[in-house]
Symmetry: C2
Subunit: 146 residues, 2 copies
């Protein structure tokens, strides 16, 4: 049966650009696979080929063992545009737990990270949250108190 | 700073239909919030309103503390179509770790779950994987050996 979550896969257009963003956010690259070429991936994913490059990233202090499987597809290439809004059907938001959202937001702004709102907003019951977007427009949420 | 992953948010069109799918997959509802109406959500998400209903789901034996934040938006309503292919830019795949992928796949087929490929495919180095889709078409991947 299903034991646990393992990873969240984000397809990007430019692996280095996205790795740089997630590193600025505070994640660390835990593995890189410069070239994957597997017929099994093509078959499992119903794509004509399975040729891609990959970086795994996770917060350095994380205990969950989950990682982002950041993928730039080479053949077929990464395609399309991300969901334009947070009420769009699909996996449209990845949330990270932060212990001090004001300090984190300020530190990230100094690193050039921008957010959808000026400050963290109350989500009720002591929960505060703010959302940024990665270089392709993927919604990344920071949450304190949930 | 960022402590860990917290949740993956999946927007669905019909909360009960999607809860039923994820329960058949083997996840458990760990919390339900029948009505959320928060101006802070609207502001953080840059949406005109923040009116939604929610179920949190996780594998019952999981130790990661991660959960799926399954959301049906009410106002504004859930909108749009999911990414049609696995090389589409965005968060397009959520992967679960399974300990016996053949037994899991067989058991899930008995519960009416369908998969993109006939059997789990080799992803190299002892890794095997198969992909299903939820009622809205969201790609859910099962992996053994990674």
């Amino acid at each position: 049966m299903i034991d646990d979550f393992q990873h969240v896969s984000i397809t990007c257009r430019d692996l280095e650009r996205s790795v740089s963003f997630y590193e600025r956010l505070g994640l660390k690259v835990i593995k890189r696979i410069d070239e994957v070429k597997e017929q099994g991936i093509a078959q499992a994913f119903q794509l004509p080929r399975g040729h891609l490059k990959v970086a795994y990233l996770a917060p350095p202090q994380a205990t969950s063992k989950i990682f982002i499987d950041l993928v730039q597809w080479l053949e077929p290439p990464s395609t399309g545009e991300v969901y334009p809004a947070l009420n769009h059907v699909g996996i449209n938001r990845l949330a990270f737990r932060v212990s001090d959202i004001d300090a984190t937001t300020a530190a990230l702004r100094e690193r050039g990270i921008t957010f959808l709102s000026r400050r963290p907003e109350m989500f009720g019951q002591g929960i505060r949250s703010i959302v940024t977007t990665d270089p392709d427009g993927v919604f990344i949420q920071l949450i304190e108190g949930l």
